[in-house]
Symmetry: C2
DNA sequence: AGGAATGATGTCATGATCTGTCATAGCGGT
DNA sequence: ACCGCTATGACAGATCATGACATCATTCCT
Protein backbone atom coordinates (compact mmCIF):
# COMPACT_ATOMS: atom_id res chain seq x y z
CA UNK A 1 0.00 0.00 0.00
CA UNK A 2 1.70 3.19 -1.14
CA UNK A 3 1.50 6.20 1.03
CA UNK A 4 -0.28 8.14 -1.71
CA UNK A 5 -2.33 7.11 -4.75
CA UNK A 6 0.01 6.52 -7.68
CA UNK A 7 0.34 8.62 -10.83
CA UNK A 8 -0.10 12.08 -9.45
CA UNK A 9 1.33 13.40 -12.71
CA UNK A 10 -1.35 11.80 -14.86
CA UNK A 11 -4.08 12.88 -12.48
CA UNK A 12 -2.79 16.45 -12.58
CA UNK A 13 -2.68 16.42 -16.37
CA UNK A 14 -6.25 15.26 -16.80
CA UNK A 15 -7.55 17.46 -14.01
CA UNK A 16 -5.94 20.41 -15.77
CA UNK A 17 -7.46 19.54 -19.15
CA UNK A 18 -10.90 19.14 -17.60
CA UNK A 19 -10.74 22.41 -15.72
CA UNK A 20 -9.34 24.38 -18.66
CA UNK A 21 -12.20 23.08 -20.79
CA UNK A 22 -14.80 23.87 -18.16
CA UNK A 23 -13.69 27.38 -17.19
CA UNK A 24 -10.99 28.51 -19.62
CA UNK A 25 -7.25 28.52 -19.09
CA UNK A 26 -6.81 31.80 -17.25
CA UNK A 27 -9.75 31.25 -14.91
CA UNK A 28 -8.16 28.10 -13.51
CA UNK A 29 -5.49 28.38 -10.83
CA UNK A 30 -2.80 25.84 -10.13
CA UNK A 31 -4.40 25.37 -6.73
CA UNK A 32 -7.65 24.37 -8.46
CA UNK A 33 -5.84 21.76 -10.52
CA UNK A 34 -3.95 20.40 -7.54
CA UNK A 35 -7.09 20.22 -5.46
CA UNK A 36 -8.96 18.22 -8.09
CA UNK A 37 -6.00 15.89 -8.43
CA UNK A 38 -5.83 15.45 -4.67
CA UNK A 39 -2.35 16.91 -4.17
CA UNK A 40 -0.87 20.27 -3.26
CA UNK A 41 0.23 22.97 -5.68
CA UNK A 42 3.85 22.26 -4.75
CA UNK A 43 3.49 18.81 -6.23
CA UNK A 44 2.13 20.30 -9.44
CA UNK A 45 5.26 22.40 -9.84
CA UNK A 46 7.45 19.41 -9.18
CA UNK A 47 5.80 17.57 -12.08
CA UNK A 48 5.51 20.51 -14.47
CA UNK A 49 7.86 23.43 -14.82
CA UNK A 50 4.95 25.88 -14.95
CA UNK A 51 1.22 26.07 -15.47
CA UNK A 52 1.56 26.02 -19.26
CA UNK A 53 3.77 22.97 -19.40
CA UNK A 54 0.96 20.66 -18.30
CA UNK A 55 -0.47 21.12 -21.80
CA UNK A 56 2.82 20.52 -23.61
CA UNK A 57 4.80 17.92 -21.72
CA UNK A 58 3.50 15.06 -23.89
CA UNK A 59 5.00 16.70 -26.94
CA UNK A 60 8.49 15.79 -25.86
CA UNK A 61 7.67 12.15 -26.47
CA UNK A 62 7.27 12.90 -30.17
CA UNK A 63 10.72 14.31 -30.85
CA UNK A 64 12.52 10.94 -31.13
CA UNK A 65 9.97 9.88 -33.73
CA UNK A 66 10.86 12.89 -35.78
CA UNK A 67 14.60 12.38 -35.59
CA UNK A 68 14.38 8.68 -36.37
CA UNK A 69 12.42 9.32 -39.53
CA UNK A 70 15.16 11.64 -40.75
CA UNK A 71 18.14 9.48 -39.80
CA UNK A 72 16.77 6.07 -40.67
CA UNK A 73 16.48 5.81 -44.45
CA UNK A 74 19.61 4.42 -46.12
CA UNK A 75 20.95 5.55 -49.45
CA UNK A 76 20.52 8.91 -51.16
CA UNK A 77 17.15 10.48 -50.55
CA UNK A 78 15.36 13.53 -51.85
CA UNK A 79 14.97 16.30 -49.29
CA UNK A 80 11.25 16.67 -49.89
CA UNK A 81 10.80 12.96 -49.32
CA UNK A 82 12.63 13.17 -46.01
CA UNK A 83 10.45 16.03 -44.80
CA UNK A 84 7.42 14.05 -45.83
CA UNK A 85 8.65 11.02 -43.90
CA UNK A 86 9.37 13.02 -40.76
CA UNK A 87 6.10 14.90 -40.73
CA UNK A 88 4.24 11.79 -41.77
CA UNK A 89 5.67 9.88 -38.80
CA UNK A 90 4.58 12.71 -36.55
CA UNK A 91 1.12 12.61 -38.09
CA UNK A 92 0.78 8.87 -37.51
CA UNK A 93 1.55 9.31 -33.84
CA UNK A 94 -0.98 12.10 -33.52
CA UNK A 95 -3.87 10.64 -35.49
CA UNK A 96 -5.19 8.24 -32.83
CA UNK A 97 -5.44 11.08 -30.32
CA UNK A 98 -7.45 13.38 -32.55
CA UNK A 99 -10.19 14.17 -30.06
CA UNK A 100 -7.99 15.05 -27.13
CA UNK A 101 -5.67 16.96 -29.45
CA UNK A 102 -8.59 19.03 -30.64
CA UNK A 103 -9.67 19.86 -27.11
CA UNK A 104 -6.11 20.81 -26.30
CA UNK A 105 -5.83 22.93 -29.41
CA UNK A 106 -8.96 24.87 -28.54
CA UNK A 107 -7.43 25.80 -25.22
CA UNK A 108 -4.13 26.78 -26.81
CA UNK A 109 -5.78 28.88 -29.50
CA UNK A 110 -7.75 30.77 -26.85
CA UNK A 111 -4.62 32.20 -25.23
CA UNK A 112 -1.81 34.13 -26.90
CA UNK A 113 0.83 32.99 -24.46
CA UNK A 114 -0.08 29.35 -25.06
CA UNK A 115 0.04 29.93 -28.80
CA UNK A 116 3.50 31.33 -28.38
CA UNK A 117 4.59 28.35 -26.36
CA UNK A 118 3.30 26.00 -29.02
CA UNK A 119 5.12 27.87 -31.76
CA UNK A 120 8.33 27.91 -29.74
CA UNK A 121 8.12 24.18 -29.22
CA UNK A 122 7.52 23.59 -32.92
CA UNK A 123 10.42 25.90 -33.70
CA UNK A 124 12.59 23.63 -31.64
CA UNK A 125 11.38 20.60 -33.58
CA UNK A 126 12.09 22.48 -36.76
CA UNK A 127 15.60 23.13 -35.56
CA UNK A 128 16.11 19.45 -34.74
CA UNK A 129 14.91 18.42 -38.18
CA UNK A 130 17.21 20.91 -39.78
CA UNK A 131 20.16 19.51 -37.85
CA UNK A 132 19.15 16.00 -38.86
CA UNK A 133 19.13 17.03 -42.50
CA UNK A 134 22.54 18.64 -42.22
CA UNK A 135 23.90 15.47 -40.63
CA UNK A 136 22.72 13.58 -43.69
CA UNK A 137 24.79 15.89 -45.83
CA UNK A 138 22.35 18.55 -46.92
CA UNK A 139 23.45 22.11 -47.33
CA UNK A 140 22.72 23.92 -44.03
CA UNK A 141 20.90 26.76 -45.77
CA UNK A 142 18.70 24.38 -47.71
CA UNK A 143 18.02 22.31 -44.62
CA UNK A 144 16.85 25.28 -42.59
CA UNK A 145 14.64 26.49 -45.38
CA UNK A 146 13.11 23.07 -45.95
CA UNK A 147 12.40 22.57 -42.27
CA UNK A 148 10.81 26.01 -42.05
CA UNK A 149 8.54 25.38 -45.01
CA UNK A 150 7.74 21.90 -43.76
CA UNK A 151 6.57 23.14 -40.42
CA UNK A 152 4.62 26.00 -41.90
CA UNK A 153 2.77 23.35 -43.88
CA UNK A 154 2.46 21.07 -40.90
CA UNK A 155 0.88 23.75 -38.72
CA UNK A 156 -1.53 24.63 -41.46
CA UNK A 157 -2.63 21.07 -42.15
CA UNK A 158 -2.80 20.20 -38.45
CA UNK A 159 -5.22 23.03 -37.84
CA UNK A 160 -7.29 22.12 -40.87
CA UNK A 161 -7.41 18.48 -39.78
CA UNK A 162 -8.44 19.29 -36.23
CA UNK A 163 -11.03 21.80 -37.40
CA UNK A 164 -12.73 19.50 -39.90
CA UNK A 165 -15.25 17.44 -37.92
CA UNK A 166 -16.59 15.29 -40.76
CA UNK A 167 -16.03 11.55 -40.63
CA UNK A 168 -14.77 11.18 -44.21
CA UNK A 169 -12.39 14.11 -43.96
CA UNK A 170 -8.86 13.45 -45.19
CA UNK A 171 -6.47 12.18 -42.51
CA UNK A 172 -3.55 14.30 -41.38
CA UNK A 173 -1.12 12.12 -43.30
CA UNK A 174 -3.13 12.45 -46.48
CA UNK A 175 -3.33 16.19 -46.07
CA UNK A 176 0.42 16.41 -45.67
CA UNK A 177 1.07 14.30 -48.76
CA UNK A 178 -0.90 16.70 -50.93
CA UNK A 179 0.41 19.84 -49.24
CA UNK A 180 4.03 19.75 -50.29
CA UNK A 181 3.33 19.66 -54.02
CA UNK A 182 0.91 22.53 -53.47
CA UNK A 183 3.82 24.78 -52.56
CA UNK A 184 5.19 24.59 -56.07
CA UNK A 185 1.82 25.23 -57.63
CA UNK A 186 1.16 28.27 -55.52
CA UNK A 187 4.57 29.79 -56.14
CA UNK A 188 4.26 29.26 -59.86
CA UNK A 189 0.75 30.26 -60.67
CA UNK A 190 -1.03 32.22 -57.98
CA UNK A 191 -2.37 35.60 -59.08
CA UNK A 192 -5.11 37.85 -57.76
CA UNK A 193 -8.56 38.60 -59.18
CA UNK B 1 6.54 72.58 -15.79
CA UNK B 2 4.97 69.13 -15.69
CA UNK B 3 4.59 67.46 -12.38
CA UNK B 4 6.80 64.58 -13.51
CA UNK B 5 9.52 64.31 -16.14
CA UNK B 6 7.92 63.53 -19.49
CA UNK B 7 8.11 60.29 -21.43
CA UNK B 8 8.05 57.75 -18.65
CA UNK B 9 7.25 55.12 -21.28
CA UNK B 10 10.40 55.78 -23.28
CA UNK B 11 12.51 55.90 -20.13
CA UNK B 12 11.06 52.58 -18.99
CA UNK B 13 11.74 51.00 -22.38
CA UNK B 14 15.38 52.01 -22.49
CA UNK B 15 15.94 51.24 -18.83
CA UNK B 16 14.56 47.76 -19.50
CA UNK B 17 16.80 47.19 -22.52
CA UNK B 18 19.85 48.33 -20.58
CA UNK B 19 19.14 46.15 -17.59
CA UNK B 20 18.27 43.09 -19.66
CA UNK B 21 21.56 43.47 -21.49
CA UNK B 22 23.51 43.95 -18.28
CA UNK B 23 22.03 41.14 -16.20
CA UNK B 24 19.86 38.98 -18.42
CA UNK B 25 16.09 39.08 -18.76
CA UNK B 26 15.10 36.86 -15.87
CA UNK B 27 17.52 38.45 -13.41
CA UNK B 28 15.82 41.83 -13.80
CA UNK B 29 12.66 42.60 -11.86
CA UNK B 30 10.04 45.09 -12.87
CA UNK B 31 10.92 47.03 -9.74
CA UNK B 32 14.50 47.31 -11.00
CA UNK B 33 13.31 48.75 -14.30
CA UNK B 34 10.92 51.16 -12.65
CA UNK B 35 13.56 52.32 -10.22
CA UNK B 36 16.06 53.09 -12.98
CA UNK B 37 13.36 54.95 -14.90
CA UNK B 38 12.44 56.91 -11.79
CA UNK B 39 8.87 55.68 -11.46
CA UNK B 40 7.05 52.95 -9.57
CA UNK B 41 6.31 49.46 -10.81
CA UNK B 42 2.64 50.33 -11.02
CA UNK B 43 3.48 52.86 -13.71
CA UNK B 44 5.40 50.23 -15.63
CA UNK B 45 2.31 48.06 -15.78
CA UNK B 46 0.21 50.99 -16.93
CA UNK B 47 2.52 51.46 -19.90
CA UNK B 48 3.14 47.81 -20.71
CA UNK B 49 0.77 44.90 -20.25
CA UNK B 50 3.51 42.75 -18.74
CA UNK B 51 7.25 42.49 -18.35
CA UNK B 52 7.67 40.93 -21.80
CA UNK B 53 5.71 43.56 -23.65
CA UNK B 54 8.34 46.22 -23.05
CA UNK B 55 10.43 44.39 -25.66
CA UNK B 56 7.63 44.05 -28.21
CA UNK B 57 5.45 47.13 -28.04
CA UNK B 58 7.29 48.87 -30.87
CA UNK B 59 6.39 46.04 -33.21
CA UNK B 60 2.81 47.17 -33.37
CA UNK B 61 3.90 50.27 -35.23
CA UNK B 62 5.04 48.07 -38.12
CA UNK B 63 1.74 46.38 -38.88
CA UNK B 64 0.22 49.28 -40.88
CA UNK B 65 3.32 49.28 -43.08
CA UNK B 66 2.70 45.66 -43.84
CA UNK B 67 -0.96 46.05 -44.68
CA UNK B 68 -0.38 49.10 -46.82
CA UNK B 69 2.17 47.30 -48.96
CA UNK B 70 -0.38 44.59 -49.67
CA UNK B 71 -3.38 46.80 -50.33
CA UNK B 72 -1.68 49.64 -52.22
CA UNK B 73 -0.58 48.32 -55.62
CA UNK B 74 -3.21 48.76 -58.33
CA UNK B 75 -3.89 46.32 -61.09
CA UNK B 76 -3.29 42.58 -61.16
CA UNK B 77 -0.20 41.52 -59.23
CA UNK B 78 1.65 38.30 -58.77
CA UNK B 79 1.36 36.84 -55.28
CA UNK B 80 5.09 36.39 -54.86
CA UNK B 81 5.62 40.03 -55.81
CA UNK B 82 3.13 41.13 -53.17
CA UNK B 83 4.85 39.10 -50.46
CA UNK B 84 8.13 40.61 -51.53
CA UNK B 85 6.69 44.12 -51.33
CA UNK B 86 5.22 43.56 -47.88
CA UNK B 87 8.30 41.98 -46.38
CA UNK B 88 10.51 44.47 -48.19
CA UNK B 89 8.58 47.37 -46.65
CA UNK B 90 9.03 45.75 -43.25
CA UNK B 91 12.73 45.36 -43.92
CA UNK B 92 13.13 49.03 -44.88
CA UNK B 93 11.58 50.09 -41.60
CA UNK B 94 13.85 47.78 -39.64
CA UNK B 95 17.16 48.42 -41.35
CA UNK B 96 18.02 51.75 -39.71
CA UNK B 97 17.58 50.20 -36.26
CA UNK B 98 19.89 47.26 -36.86
CA UNK B 99 22.00 47.69 -33.75
CA UNK B 100 19.20 48.00 -31.25
CA UNK B 101 17.32 45.22 -33.03
CA UNK B 102 20.31 42.96 -32.60
CA UNK B 103 20.59 43.69 -28.91
CA UNK B 104 16.89 43.02 -28.56
CA UNK B 105 17.15 39.79 -30.52
CA UNK B 106 19.92 38.51 -28.28
CA UNK B 107 17.68 38.97 -25.27
CA UNK B 108 14.74 37.29 -26.98
CA UNK B 109 16.81 34.34 -28.14
CA UNK B 110 18.07 33.78 -24.61
CA UNK B 111 14.61 33.06 -23.23
CA UNK B 112 12.11 30.50 -24.51
CA UNK B 113 9.09 32.45 -23.38
CA UNK B 114 10.28 35.53 -25.24
CA UNK B 115 10.91 33.45 -28.34
CA UNK B 116 7.36 32.22 -28.12
CA UNK B 117 6.05 35.72 -27.78
CA UNK B 118 7.99 36.82 -30.84
CA UNK B 119 6.70 33.91 -32.88
CA UNK B 120 3.14 34.57 -31.76
CA UNK B 121 3.43 38.19 -32.80
CA UNK B 122 4.82 37.24 -36.19
CA UNK B 123 2.04 34.68 -36.55
CA UNK B 124 -0.41 37.50 -36.11
CA UNK B 125 1.33 39.53 -38.82
CA UNK B 126 1.22 36.48 -41.01
CA UNK B 127 -2.50 36.23 -40.43
CA UNK B 128 -2.99 39.89 -41.33
CA UNK B 129 -1.04 39.48 -44.55
CA UNK B 130 -3.07 36.45 -45.42
CA UNK B 131 -6.29 38.39 -44.92
CA UNK B 132 -4.90 41.21 -47.04
CA UNK B 133 -4.15 38.79 -49.84
CA UNK B 134 -7.64 37.30 -49.67
CA UNK B 135 -9.13 40.79 -49.87
CA UNK B 136 -7.23 41.28 -53.09
CA UNK B 137 -8.92 38.22 -54.50
CA UNK B 138 -6.44 35.45 -53.83
CA UNK B 139 -7.62 31.99 -52.95
CA UNK B 140 -7.70 31.74 -49.12
CA UNK B 141 -5.73 28.50 -49.11
CA UNK B 142 -3.04 29.95 -51.34
CA UNK B 143 -2.92 33.14 -49.31
CA UNK B 144 -2.35 31.31 -46.02
CA UNK B 145 0.34 29.16 -47.54
CA UNK B 146 2.12 32.11 -49.12
CA UNK B 147 2.06 34.10 -45.91
CA UNK B 148 3.41 31.13 -43.97
CA UNK B 149 6.27 30.59 -46.37
CA UNK B 150 6.96 34.30 -46.56
CA UNK B 151 7.35 34.58 -42.83
CA UNK B 152 9.43 31.44 -42.55
CA UNK B 153 11.78 33.12 -45.01
CA UNK B 154 11.57 36.45 -43.25
CA UNK B 155 12.52 34.99 -39.87
CA UNK B 156 15.41 33.15 -41.45
CA UNK B 157 16.81 36.15 -43.26
CA UNK B 158 16.23 38.45 -40.32
CA UNK B 159 18.33 36.23 -38.09
CA UNK B 160 21.03 35.88 -40.71
CA UNK B 161 21.11 39.65 -41.24
CA UNK B 162 21.33 40.41 -37.52
CA UNK B 163 23.97 37.74 -36.99
CA UNK B 164 26.29 38.91 -39.77
CA UNK B 165 28.41 41.69 -38.34
CA UNK B 166 30.42 42.53 -41.44
CA UNK B 167 30.04 45.95 -42.99
CA UNK B 168 29.59 44.76 -46.58
CA UNK B 169 27.06 42.10 -45.67
CA UNK B 170 23.90 42.08 -47.76
CA UNK B 171 21.09 44.23 -46.41
CA UNK B 172 17.90 42.66 -45.16
CA UNK B 173 16.03 43.77 -48.27
CA UNK B 174 18.65 42.23 -50.54
CA UNK B 175 18.56 39.01 -48.60
CA UNK B 176 14.79 38.83 -48.93
CA UNK B 177 14.91 39.45 -52.66
CA UNK B 178 17.16 36.46 -53.21
CA UNK B 179 15.37 34.26 -50.70
CA UNK B 180 12.06 33.76 -52.44
CA UNK B 181 13.53 32.34 -55.66
CA UNK B 182 15.63 30.06 -53.45
CA UNK B 183 12.49 28.27 -52.34
CA UNK B 184 11.90 26.95 -55.83
CA UNK B 185 15.49 25.87 -56.25
CA UNK B 186 15.54 23.99 -53.00
CA UNK B 187 12.27 22.20 -53.63
CA UNK B 188 13.38 21.17 -57.08
CA UNK B 189 16.93 20.11 -56.64
CA UNK B 190 18.02 19.52 -53.08
CA UNK B 191 19.44 16.07 -52.36
CA UNK B 192 21.72 14.76 -49.68
CA UNK B 193 25.43 13.76 -49.90
C1' DA C 1 -9.32 85.03 -11.25
C1' DG C 2 -11.06 80.98 -9.57
C1' DG C 3 -12.89 76.57 -9.51
C1' DA C 4 -13.81 72.14 -11.92
C1' DA C 5 -12.20 68.50 -14.84
C1' DT C 6 -8.26 65.84 -16.52
C1' DG C 7 -4.70 62.68 -16.46
C1' DA C 8 -0.40 60.72 -15.09
C1' DT C 9 1.34 59.05 -11.13
C1' DG C 10 1.75 57.07 -6.30
C1' DT C 11 0.08 54.05 -2.47
C1' DC C 12 -1.95 50.13 -0.71
C1' DA C 13 -4.10 45.67 -0.86
C1' DT C 14 -4.62 41.32 -2.89
C1' DG C 15 -4.23 37.28 -5.65
C1' DA C 16 -1.53 34.14 -8.68
C1' DT C 17 2.75 32.05 -10.03
C1' DC C 18 6.92 29.89 -8.91
C1' DT C 19 11.03 28.51 -5.77
C1' DG C 20 13.75 27.08 -1.66
C1' DT C 21 13.91 24.40 2.36
C1' DC C 22 12.89 21.13 5.65
C1' DA C 23 9.99 17.47 7.66
C1' DT C 24 7.48 13.10 7.08
C1' DA C 25 6.25 8.46 6.05
C1' DG C 26 6.16 4.43 3.30
C1' DC C 27 9.10 1.33 0.60
C1' DG C 28 13.03 -1.79 -0.39
C1' DG C 29 17.38 -3.67 0.71
C1' DT C 30 20.84 -5.28 4.12
C1' DA D 1 15.80 -3.56 13.05
C1' DC D 2 18.06 -0.17 10.62
C1' DC D 3 19.21 2.75 6.54
C1' DG D 4 18.61 5.25 2.64
C1' DC D 5 15.51 6.62 -1.19
C1' DT D 6 11.63 9.05 -2.96
C1' DA D 7 7.33 11.36 -3.33
C1' DT D 8 4.85 14.39 -0.97
C1' DG D 9 3.31 18.04 2.46
C1' DA D 10 4.03 22.31 4.89
C1' DC D 11 5.56 26.80 5.05
C1' DA D 12 8.01 31.05 3.85
C1' DG D 13 9.07 34.26 0.45
C1' DA D 14 10.08 36.55 -4.17
C1' DT D 15 8.05 38.11 -8.34
C1' DC D 16 4.36 39.27 -11.41
C1' DA D 17 0.00 41.45 -12.20
C1' DT D 18 -4.40 44.02 -11.18
C1' DG D 19 -7.96 46.78 -8.78
C1' DA D 20 -9.31 50.77 -5.91
C1' DC D 21 -8.50 55.09 -4.40
C1' DA D 22 -5.68 59.38 -3.40
C1' DT D 23 -2.71 63.17 -5.09
C1' DC D 24 -1.67 67.23 -7.53
C1' DA D 25 0.19 70.03 -11.67
C1' DT D 26 -1.98 71.39 -15.72
C1' DT D 27 -5.74 72.93 -18.46
C1' DC D 28 -10.13 74.32 -19.54
C1' DC D 29 -14.33 76.85 -18.68
C1' DT D 30 -16.91 80.65 -16.93
Amino acid sequence: MPRWPADSRARLASAALELFTERGYSAVTVDDIAERAGVTARTFFRQFRDKEEVLFSDDDLLLPTLLLAIAEPTGPVDAGTLMERALGALAERMEPARDSLRRRQEIIDSDVALTGRELAKQARWQQEISVGLVERGFDPGDAGLLAAIGFALFRRELHAWLADPSADAPSLSERLRTALPAVRTVLDSSTDR
